[in-house]
C-alpha cells in the first residue's frame, strides 16, 4: 500500500488539494510499477493554455489494481495517457518499471509502449477492416514478432470470444468489441495495463464480465492494472482509488466501499 499522507485513509472525504501531499514511494529502493513525479500537462487553448494536469505525483506498486475517478475535466484521461506514454507531459517524469519515459525518443517510446504497456481505449479503436484475430495480433505485427497461436487462443477464450477469430469489428456488439480491445492490450504480455473507462458504454452485466477478465489476467500475469472509471461499483474492486479534480489528486482511498467512494466523489466533484 502507498504511504498515506492524510491522518486516516478510511475517512476524510474532504481532503483538500493542499493536504494531499505527493504520493511518492518510500525511498527504500522498492520497485514501483508506475511512478509519476510532478507531472504537468498543458494544452494550447487559443491564445492561452489549459492545464489538464497540475503537478501530479503518484506511485503505484507492482501487481496493484488502482482505480482513478473524478468528474469530467478532472484530467483522468490525461493522467492515463501520460502514464502510458501515449502523450508526453509538459514537465515532470513518468517512470514505468525502471524506464523514464520522458527520456525516450518518440520511436523508442512507441516501441516501449507496445511491448510493456497495454492500453484499453474507451472507444475500442479497432481497425475496421481487420478480423478479430488480426486486430488482437496488431501490436505483435507492428513489433515484427510472429503471433503465438496458443497464446491467442488462450486470450480469446479468456475474454469469451473463442470461435470469433474471423469476424469483423462491424459484426460485433459493443461488449464483444471491447473484449477484442482487451485481448489486444494483453497480447504482448505487458507489465502494466491501463484502461480508460472500459465499461463505460456497456451494460452492468457485460461490464462486470470485462472487469473480471481484466483482474483475472492481471493476477495471472502479475500485471499492474490502472483503470479510469465513473462507476463506484467498479472502483470497489480496486486495491486503491485515486480521486482527481481540476488536474490534481485530491483524494486517495484504500479498499473503499461504495459509500465512501460516493462521498468522496460528491465532495471533490463540487
Amino acid at each position: 500500500m502507498n504511504a498515506p499522507s492524510a491522518p486516516s485513509s478510511q475517512s476524510s472525504p474532504s481532503v483538500s488539494p493542499a493536504q494531499a501531499a505527493p504520493h511518492t514511494a518510500p525511498d527504500d529502493g522498492s520497485l514501483t510499477a508506475v511512478r509519476l513525479v510532478q507531472v504537468r500537462k498543458t494544452y494550447p487553448n487559443g491564445l492561452g493554455e489549459t492545464e489538464a494536469l497540475r503537478s501530479v505525483s503518484v506511485a503505484l506498486r507492482p501487481g496493484s489494481f488502482t482505480a482513478v475517478m473524478g468528474p469530467s475535466g478532472s484530467g483522468k484521461s490525461t493522467f492515463l495517457n501520460c502514464a502510458a506514454g501515449l502523450d508526453v507531459p509538459t514537465s515532470g517524469q513518468v517512470v514505468v518499471g525502471d524506464v523514464d519515459l520522458t527520456t525516450l525518443s518518440a520511436d523508442d517510446l512507441t516501441r516501449f509502449r507496445r511491448r510493456r504497456v497495454g492500453f484499453v481505449f474507451q472507444s475500442y479503436n479497432l481497425v475496421r477492416h481487420l478480423t478479430v484475430a488480426e486486430n488482437v495480433q496488431l501490436p505483435l505485427l507492428l513489433d515484427g514478432r510472429r503471433p503465438d497461436p496458443a497464446w491467442q487462443e488462450h486470450l480469446l477464450m479468456a475474454v469469451g470470444l473463442q470461435g470469433m477469430e474471423d469476424r469483423l469489428p462491424g459484426q460485433l456488439s459493443g461488449g464483444q468489441a471491447q473484449r477484442v480491445a482487451i485481448a489486444r492490450a494483453l497480447v504482448t504480455r505487458p507489465t502494466v495495463v491501463f484502461a480508460d473507462e472500459p465499461t463505460g458504454a456497456l451494460d452492468s452485466r457485460t461490464g462486470q464480465q470485462i472487469l473480471d477478465v481484466l483482474r483475472a489476467t492481471a493476477r495471472e500475469l502479475d500485471q499492474t492494472l490502472v483503470l479510469v472509471t465513473h462507476d463506484p461499483r467498479v472502483a470497489t474492486a480496486a486495491d486503491q482509488v485515486l480521486f482527481l479534480a481540476d488536474g490534481n489528486v485530491v483524494g486517495h482511498l484504500e479498499a473503499p466501499s461504495v459509500e465512501q467512494i460516493t462521498a468522496q466523489l460528491v465532495a471533490s466533484g463540487r
Partner: protein
C-alpha cells in the same frame, strides 16, 4: 505487414481505384507530351523538309509542356491527398496501438508507390500511341510536314515516371504528416476534426503568391509584346495556387458570414451546409481548387490564343498601307506597276530557315544545337518601304537591300543582348550557315514575324517572292482590282487578306486547342474524381446528422447547397484569378484594357464546373447519408 496492406487496400478500394484512374490519365498525358518534345528535339532542326514546311513541333510542344506538367502534377497530388484523407483516423489509431511514425509512413508510401508503379506504365503505353494519333492534326496545322512520323522511344516514359513518382510520394508524406509527427493522442484528436488555423508559412506564401500574381500581370504595361503576354498569362496560375493555399481561410470566412447572416426563417439545410463549410473548410478547398483551375486555365489560354490571333490581324492591318494584295510572282509584280491607278507595288514572300539569335554558349557547346529555331522569315522585295510598316524602332528597312542583312523584331531580341549592328546566324535548307547583321529592330512581330530579310541576304532569290502589295491612288482601288483580276491573278483587299491570315492563324491554333481540350478534360475528370472521393468519405458525418434528427431530404438538400457553394466559389475564384492575366495580355497585345475573352469557352467551362460539382457531390453523398444507420 502484407496482410494488413492487402486488407487495407481492399477496404479502400474505391478511392484507390479513383486515384489509379487519374494517375493512368496523368501518365498518358505526360507521356504524350514527352513524345512530342522528344520527337521535336530529335528531328526539329530541319528546315530540310522537302516542301519547306518549318518544323515547329519543338516550339509548340515546349510551350504546351510547361503548363501541362505543372497542372498534371498538381492534379495528381490533389487526388492522392484526397484519397488518403479518409485514412487519417486509421493512421492515428495505428500510432495509438503502437506503430512508430516511421512504420505509418512506410505503409502509406508503400501503398502510393504501388499505385504509381502500376498506373504509371499502364498509362504511359497508350500515351505513346495517343501521341501518334495527333499526327494528322500536326500536319494540317502546318507544324510538321506531311508524312511525318513521331519517334517512339523510352525516354518519354522514363521522364513521366521521374515526374510522377516524387510528386505522389510527396503528397503521401504530407497526408500522413500529422500521424507521423505528433503524439498518438494528439493525432487521434486532430484526425477527428480539421485543424482550424493555417500555419504562418502557408499564409505568407499565399499572400506572396497573390501579390506576385497581380504584379506579373502588369508586366505587359511596361514591356508589351508576346513576352509580356506570356508573363501575364502565368499570373492566373500564381493566383490559383495562392487561392489554394489561402482557401480554407476564405471558405471558412465566407461560410461564417453566411451562418451569421441566416436568421430564424432561413432554410435549415442551408444553415447546416454553411456550418459544414465552416468546419470542413480544408476539404471544401480541396474540392474547389481543381474546378477553379479548370475554369481559369481554359479561360486564360483560350483568351490569350484568341488575342494573339486578333493582335496579329491588327498588327498586319496597321502595318500594311497597301490597298490590295495580289498573288503575283516577281515578274508579275513588275507588270503590276504599270497598271493605271497603281501608286506603288511591293513584293514579299517567305523563306524557311533555322535561325539562331542567341550567342554561342562557350561552356556547353552541346546545347548550341537547341538554340536553332526553325522560322519562316519574311522576304521583302523592292519597293517595300512605305507599303510595309512594321513599326521600326531602330535602323531602317532600306538597309535590307544590302547584302548580309536582316531586320529583327523586338520580341526576338528579348533575353539576348543583341541589338542594332549585332549578328544573327541563319542556316538555310541546304545546311549552309550565314551570319546576317541586324540593320533594323521593329515592333510588330505578330503581324510580320520575327525576322525580315531582303533579296540581298542571299537566302532566296526572286523566285520566292509570291505576293504583291499594291497601293492604289485614291478612289482607283475598284478599277485596279478589276484590271488585276482580268490578268488572271488572285486579288483581295487588305481587309480580306487580313481576315484570311486571321483565319489561317486560328486554324494553326487548332492543334493547341486540341491539346488544351485534352488537358481540360483531364482536369475535369480529376476534379470529378476528387469530389466524389471526398463526398464518399462523409458517411460517418452524415450518419451522425441522421441520428441527431436530420431527415434524408434535409441531408440531400444540405449536400446540394454545399455543391452549389463549391460551384459558386470555384467559378468566383477561377474568374477573379484570370482577370489580371487577361487585362495584361489584352494590353500587351492589343493595347486595350478590356480583356479579350473567348465567351463560348468561358460559358462552357462555367457550365462544366457547375455540372461536375453537382453530379460528383450530390448523388454520392446522398447515397451515403441515406443508406447508413451506423457509422
Amino acid at each position: 505487414m502484407w496482410s494488413f496492406a492487402r486488407s487495407s487496400a481492399r477496404a479502400h478500394r474505391a478511392s484507390l481505384a479513383g486515384a489509379f484512374v487519374i494517375v493512368v490519365l496523368a501518365s498518358a498525358l505526360l507521356t504524350a507530351t514527352g513524345v512530342l518534345l522528344d520527337s521535336g528535339a530529335r528531328t526539329g532542326f530541319g528546315a530540310e523538309q522537302p516542301d519547306g514546311t518549318a518544323m515547329l513541333l519543338v516550339t509548340v510542344a515546349s510551350s504546351f509542356a510547361g503548363t501541362t506538367v505543372l497542372v498534371v502534377l498538381l492534379m495528381v497530388s490533389t487526388t492522392i491527398s484526397a484519397a488518403l484523407r479518409q485514412r487519417r483516423q486509421e493512421f492515428a489509431l495505428l500510432r495509438a496501438v503502437g506503430a512508430t511514425g516511421g512504420q505509418v509512413r512506410q505503409m502509406v508510401t508503400g501503398e502510393v508507390l504501388l499505385v504509381l508503379a502500376l498506373a504509371g506504365p499502364v498509362g504511359a503505353v497508350p500515351g505513346l500511341f495517343a501521341a501518334r494519333l495527333l499526327t494528322p492534326l500536326l500536319e494540317s496545322g502546318g507544324i510538321v510536314p506531311a508524312g511525318y512520323q513521331l519517334t517512339l522511344s523510352p525516354w518519354p516514359v522514363l521522364g513521366t515516371l521521374l515526374l510522377l513518382v516524387p510528386t505522389g510520394l510527396l503528397a503521401a508524406r504530407l497526408a500522413s504528416k500529422e500521424a507521423v509527427r505528433t503524439s498518438p493522442t494528439a493525432a487521434v484528436q486532430q484526425s477527428e476534426a480539421e485543424p482550424s488555423a493555417l500555419s504562418t508559412a502557408r499564409r505568407t506564401t499565399a499572400a506572396c503568391l497573390g501579390v506576385a500574381g497581380v504584379a506579373v500581370a502588369t508586366v505587359p504595361f511596361f514591356s508589351p509584346g508576346i513576352m509580356g503576354t506570356a508573363a501575364a498569362a502565368s499570373s492566373a496560375l500564381l493566383l490559383i495556387t495562392g487561392s489554394a493555399l489561402a482557401g480554407p481561410l476564405l471558405v471558412a470566412g465566407l461560410a461564417e458570414r453566411a451562418v451569421r447572416a441566416s436568421g430564424p426563417g432561413s432554410s435549415v439545410s442551408g444553415h447546416m451546409a454553411m456550418l459544414n463549410a465552416r468546419g470542413f473548410s480544408r476539404r471544401l478547398t480541396a474540392a474547389i481548387v481543381p474546378l477553379a483551375l479548370l475554369l481559369a486555365l481554359g479561360t486564360v489560354q483560350s483568351g490569350v490564343d484568341r488575342t494573339v490571333v486578333e493582335a496579329s490581324g491588327v498588327q498586319l492591318e496597321d502595318g500594311l498601307t497597301a490597298d490590295l494584295v495580289v498573288d503575283a510572282t516577281d515578274t508579275q509584280s513588275t507588270q503590276l506597276r504599270g497598271v493605271p491607278g497603281v501608286d506603288a507595288v511591293a513584293s514579299t514572300g517567305t523563306v524557311t530557315a533555322d535561325v539562331k539569335i542567341e550567342p554561342d554558349d562557350e561552356d556547353l557547346p552541346a546545347l548550341d544545337a537547341l538554340s536553332w529555331e526553325p522560322t519562316a522569315l519574311r522576304l521583302l522585295g523592292d519597293g517595300v518601304t512605305g507599303v510595309v510598316d512594321p513599326l521600326v524602332r531602330e535602323g531602317t528597312l532600306d538597309d535590307l537591300a544590302s547584302a548580309g542583312t536582316v531586320a529583327v523584331s523586338q520580341d526576338a531580341t528579348f533575353g539576348t543582348s543583341k541589338g542594332l549592328g549585332d549578328t544573327v546566324e541563319v542556316r538555310d535548307a541546304d545546311g549552309v550557315e550565314t551570319e546576317l547583321t541586324i540593320v533594323a529592330v521593329y515592333d510588330r512581330s505578330l503581324g510580320f514575324g520575327d525576322y525580315m530579310v531582303g533579296l540581298g541576304s542571299g537566302l532566296a532569290d526572286g523566285a520566292a517572292l509570291d505576293t504583291a502589295l499594291v497601293r492604289t491612288d485614291a478612289g482607283a482601288t475598284g478599277d485596279v482590282r478589276e484590271t488585276v483580276e482580268a490578268l488572271g491573278l488572285g486579288v483581295r483587299t487588305t481587309g480580306e487578306y487580313v481576315d484570311e491570315v486571321r483565319a489561317s492563324g486560328a486554324e494553326q491554333q487548332q492543334f493547341s486547342a486540341v491539346l488544351l481540350l485534352a488537358l481540360l478534360t483531364f482536369i475535369a475528370m480529376a476534379a470529378a474524381n476528387t469530389l466524389a472521393m471526398l463526398s464518399s468519405q462523409r458517411g460517418g458525418e452524415l450518419a451522425l446528422l441522421r441520428r441527431t434528427g436530420a431527415t434524408g431530404r434535409q441531408l440531400t438538400t444540405m449536400v446540394a447547397v454545399e455543391a452549389a457553394f463549391v460551384a459558386v466559389l470555384a467559378w468566383g475564384i477561377g474568374t477573379l484569378s484570370v482577370v489580371p492575366a487577361l487585362v495584361g495580355a489584352g494590353y500587351g497585345l492589343l493595347g486595350t484594357v478590356l480583356p479579350p475573352m473567348n465567351w463560348p469557352m468561358y460559358g462552357g467551362l462555367t457550365a462544366a464546373v457547375v455540372l461536375i460539382a453537382v453530379l460528383a457531390i450530390v448523388p454520392v453523398a446522398a447515397r451515403r447519408g441515406a443508406g447508413m444507420a451506423r457509422a
